[in-house]
Symmetry: C2
Subunit: 78 residues, 2 copies
Amino acid sequence: MKARIFVTLKEGVLDPQGQAIEGALSALGFSGVGAVRQGKVFDVELEETGEPAEARLKAMCETLLANTVIEDYRIEMG
Amino acid sequence: MKARIFVTLKEGVLDPQGQAIEGALSALGFSGVGAVRQGKVFDVELEETGEPAEARLKAMCETLLANTVIEDYRIEMG
């Protein structure tokens, strides 16, 4: 089974990378661009499927893929 | 308008970051994990909407957000 995991900064957490991209876009002449936030995406292949797979993906996020103090994660099973 | 842009490595391009995560997951006791690939996600706010917005997002990807030699991008308008 293939799953996609999104890890994004929680709202209110400063995102210097996103701000740098915002600045670069405006320097390149792209006007009318509001906030830019950068996150990570992980494509994971698993042997399991269904609920056990989701539970394991959640455990992976909690222990390795996301820093839950400042990041949110979302799992999309494909 | 809010848009989400996914930037992922093209198939066949080596992903050392993904491989490191794969190794770390197996070291943490997560067995049965196949390939892991890491990508980036950008949440962009734009003043424009519809087709002009999509054209601008495409231009942003081509010039700044993605390295089209090794990366693919996908735009999702919200």
